[in-house]
């Protein structure tokens, strides 16, 4: 066994010993109230839920809009796949906070919570009397995060923002796409996912501060600004040269070589920046002659030099198979990889071994295979415990466990329409057609 493998096996043993379900969870005891819909807000809560936070999600009568957004308009067992992807391990309550009685109940929850997250239009919570001003009166240790396209104040506050608008207002498509072609939107709702992640970082940072002082706080996060923050050297470049960063396809304008190349049987990404790595690549190509001039990485970065070198590499890969280039990279110490698609990732032994793709049996929907959030942590790994749920699925459990309500009190709230469950005539709010009326409900909390 070589050195690298004895190390990786040692790391693996550290994880194997600790990652049994039911073991430690890093965020156990952190209670999050999610007043969110779509992807942005729910993803922020999802990241914390997979590391053990107790997330209680509140939905209005119609339900989260993602119940109606699913690829090819395909519903699986009544479930929208678009809803599933950012909603794991959550407790589902049907209660609209605009209802005055619901508002008072929500404040009871707030007393017992650590975090409230909303991604409604800025000011909506305030209209219901539930902005941080009111929430901190009942719980001074509360962390409340609001996120929207342009935040709670400023000339554009309140403007509609979707993921694709946050991308385009933040400048991402302007720098994404092939040279001399149009701008390209991310293949996924990237501005939602990365801003949800940034929100989770902000919330955890605030919780870490609260550990020292007991003080909560209000956080006003802007989605489009987050996209701006992630565009690395775009702004320094504009400030220095007065120019827009151009689109360059898969070529990296700041690292050379770094690009995607055509092979006989597909594409391969290659990068080699240090002298040592570049020398390795040159040896693999049988082009040690290039070393003399291009030893120093800075010599490879001027536009003409970069194009010259990338073209040489392109000629080399063209007649090879992807796998051959990857092997050469292993041997010569530069970087090369195929493009991994959904199918390859789904079947990857590597991702399964690492818990990056997890298999679980959901009480309501059955067998599931999904990606779980990083990083892998040896004491407190992320775990997917259950999938999304029909509207109001956990009403009874949550009201009993968190607020100590009696069954009668819960029936009363249902009668008044303060809390509600799925509407049988709207399939995407409902359990699977063959649901037995019990599976997945907690605390024996069957209705009636």
């Amino acid at each position: 066994m070589n050195g690298v493998n004895s190390y990786t096996h040692w790391v693996k043993s550290m994880f194997d010993n600790k990652s049994h379900p039911g073991e430690l969870e890093a965020l156990e005891g952190v209670r999050v109230l999610e007043v969110c819909a779509l992807v942005l807000g729910p993803s922020a809560c999802d990241y914390m839920a997979e590391f053990g936070a107790e997330v209680i999600k509140f939905e209005g009568q119609k339900g989260d809009n993602m119940r109606f957004v699913t690829p090819y308009d395909y519903f699986w067992k009544n479930m929208s796949i678009g809803l599933q992807i950012q909603n794991h391990n959550k407790y589902w309550v049907g209660m609209h906070l605009g209802n005055p009685e619901a508002k008072e109940i929500f404040l009871e929850f707030v007393r017992k919570a650590d975090v409230v997250v909303d991604n409604l239009r800025p000011g909506r919570m305030a209209q219901w009397g539930l902005s941080y001003r009111e929430l901190k009166e009942v719980n001074p240790g509360l962390v409340q995060l609001h996120v929207s396209g342009y935040g709670s104040w400023g000339p554009w506050s309140g403007r509609t923002s979707y993921d694709a608008i946050a991308q385009s207002m933040g400048g991402l498509p302007a720098i994404t796409g092939f040279e001399k072609r149009g701008p390209i939107k991310s293949g996924v709702w990237i501005a939602d996912w990365i801003t949800g992640l940034a929100c989770a970082i902000a919330i955890l940072t605030a919780l870490n501060y609260r550990e020292k002082t007991g003080e909560g706080q209000f956080i006003d996060y802007q989605q489009a600004e987050n996209v701006i923050r992630w565009l690395d050297w775009t702004w320094v470049y504009a400030g220095l040269t007065g120019k827009d960063r151009p689109k360059a396809g898969n070529r990296d304008l700041a690292i050379c070589p770094s690009d995607l190349f055509d092979c006989k049987d597909g594409w391969v990404a290659i990068a080699a920046f240090t002298e040592e790595e570049f020398a390795g690549l040159c040896r693999a190509m049988g082009r040690e002659d290039l070393l003399e001039k291009y030893r120093d990485p800075l010599m490879r970065l001027p536009d003409e030099e970069a194009r010259y070198l990338l073209n040489i590499i392109c000629q080399w890969t063209k007649s090879r198979r992807v796998e051959d280039v990857e092997r050469a990279a292993d041997e010569y110490g530069f970087a090369a990889s195929r493009v991994i698609d959904a199918e390859a990732a789904y079947h990857s032994t590597h991702y399964r071994q690492r818990g990056a793709v997890q298999e679980y049996d959901d009480d309501v929907y059955g067998h599931m295979v999904e990606h779980a959030y990083p990083p892998r942590m040896n004491l407190t790994p992320s775990r997917i415990k259950w999938a999304c749920r029909p509207l109001g699925f956990d009403n009874e459990y949550v009201f009993k466990k968190v607020l100590g309500y009696s069954t009668e009190a819960i029936r009363e709230l249902e009668k008044k329409g303060v809390i509600f469950r799925w509407n049988p005539s709207i399939p995407c709010q409902n359990p699977p057609p063959d649901w037995d009326g019990k599976k997945g409900l907690r605390n024996g909390g069957g209705q009636g």
């Binding site: 190390y7 990786t8 990241y47 506050s157 470049y237 120019k243 700041a254 698609d341």
Partner: protein
């Protein structure tokens, strides 16, 4: 009276005013910092995932010690076209923020000794070497956690620290393009597979223009470190974090893997379309591009009315027809025939007018595609201090993006200084943290340890 500079078009101007008071940019420096007192060693090398991770912590007040080899981190040379400002490239200038930049030769025994002493005082260590490299030098997690069990050790690497691919490719360096290629999202990003008007040489996977692999990896690391800090506070236990940037992208790849699980079918690269919401796309116009969102039936009918194309509403009446991959290029191009006749401003006005009509069918959403220079001119970003110009005594005036944690009401994130040259903080760090005397430090310099 509402001041539009503060209230914008919000539903509750009074709330906007209150939120402004809570997060006013002018007050940031008067407030405390969330992670004050936390010591972070950032040993990343040639890797902006590590640098972005430590930026989150540095913006929140942690003392981040950036450890570079004596000749400097090669990440300083990763700069567009090779443009350098003195010893440093443009990307590093943006992520050097608030950090103490020291040098240390970990290949020498004395250097390793200094590192061990630093680790004793540290809460967090970030590294981006190939798996096992630090352990070979006697400074892996196994060794360091013995002297400091509270240490949170975060290793960032493309293939992770274990698993079959880590064993296979553990000799390779990590790069953004590789992280993106392995992160699944790139396989569905790019020009649309099924559009006959796209030349075949463009029908291939496309990376995001920025270092999305590195930045996602770095943000996941910062997230994990914050999670581990909370856990440590309760239990006193540090732990080992294995952060693989491609996994950080894969878990953001929308519904494609779940769809594969259920149907055992792949989804083709959609280009600017979307298979769950459409129209939800970028369209060419006279002076650039616009975003159009009109995916619910009433919105779609509204858009067709604006374009005066009742035939389209009839041919593609429900999401079923609009979300069919084969139909999407047609719909895209039919909309484009309309939008290319107008400028983005004309289109935006048209949509605003339509949305204000009492007899509108549904709300159509339209947005602009902004260039970096346009973004830099916008009042909103000026009011919110999204960009700052730092007057640096060494690098000169430099424009960078501000901390996005600045709108935390109690402990706003901030940028205190830009970047420092290689080894600029050796004096401060080695004397203050390790208590070295000047003569000792000079000797280390002579021995090329620092």
């Amino acid at each position: 009276m509402t001041d539009r500079r503060i209230a914008g078009v919000t539903v509750d101007p009074e709330y906007a005013r209150w939120a402004f008071e809570q997060t006013r940019p002018q007050d940031v420096r008067k407030k405390p910092e969330a992670l004050d007192g936390l010591v972070v060693l950032d040993m990343s090398y040639g890797n902006f995932a590590g640098l972005f991770a430590s930026s989150w912590l540095a913006e929140a007040g942690a003392k981040v010690i950036r450890i570079e080899p004596p000749q400097g981190d090669i990440a300083r040379k990763m700069s567009p076209y090779g443009i350098m400002v003195k010893d440093t490239g443009l990307a590093y200038l943006a992520e050097g923020r608030n950090k103490f930049h020291i040098t240390l030769n970990i290949k020498s025994e004395k250097g390793r000794d200094l590192l061990r002493r630093l680790v004793e005082k540290a809460d967090v260590l970030i590294e981006t070497f190939r798996p096992g490299y630090l352990q070979e030098l006697g400074m892996g997690y196994g060794q360091l956690s013995e002297t400091n069990p509270r240490l949170i050790y975060c290793a960032i690497y493309t293939y992770g620290q274990y698993g079959v691919e880590a064993e296979l490719h553990g000799s390779q360096p990590g790069y953004d393009i590789i992280d993106q290629a392995r992160g699944v999202i790139m396989s569905v990003t790019g020009e649309p597979e099924l559009d006959p008007e796209v030349p075949s040489e463009y029908k291939k996977p496309l990376k995001h223009g920025n270092w999305m692999g590195w930045y996602a990896g770095g943000a996941w690391a910062a997230f994990g470190i914050n999670v581990a800090l909370l856990f440590r506070n309760r239990t006193g236990r540090g732990q080992f974090l294995d952060c693989s940037p491609p996994e950080g992208l894969m878990c953001m790849s929308n519904y494609i893997m779940q769809y594969y699980h259920i149907k055992k079918e792949m989804m083709p690269r959609a280009g600017n379309y979307d298979y769950a919401v459409f129209p939800y796309t970028y369209e060419r116009c006279k002076d650039g591009y616009v975003f159009i969102g009109a995916y619910a039936d009433p919105s779609w009918q509204g858009l067709c009315e604006i374009m005066d194309r009742p035939d389209l509403a009839e041919t593609f009446p429900t999401p079923k027809e609009r979300l069919t991959p084969a139909n999407q290029p047609t719909i895209q191009h039919e909309i484009e025939k309309f939008t290319v006749r107008f400028t983005s401003d004309e289109l935006l006005n048209m949509v605003d007018e339509y949305n204000a009509r009492p007899d509108r069918k549904g709300v159509v959403v339209m947005g602009r595609l902004e260039s970096p220079r346009e973004i830099l001119q916008r009042e909103h970003w000026k009011e919110r201090d999204t960009f700052i110009r730092v007057q640096d005594p060494y690098y000169g005036e430099t424009l960078i993006q501000n901390s996005t944690l600045k709108s935390m009401s109690r402990t706003p994130g901030r940028v205190k200084w830009l970047c420092h040259p290689v080894g600029a903080d050796n004096e401060t760090v080695y004397r203050e943290i390790l208590g070295l005397r000047t003569t000792e430090l000079r000797k280390l310099e002579r021995d090329k340890v620092v």
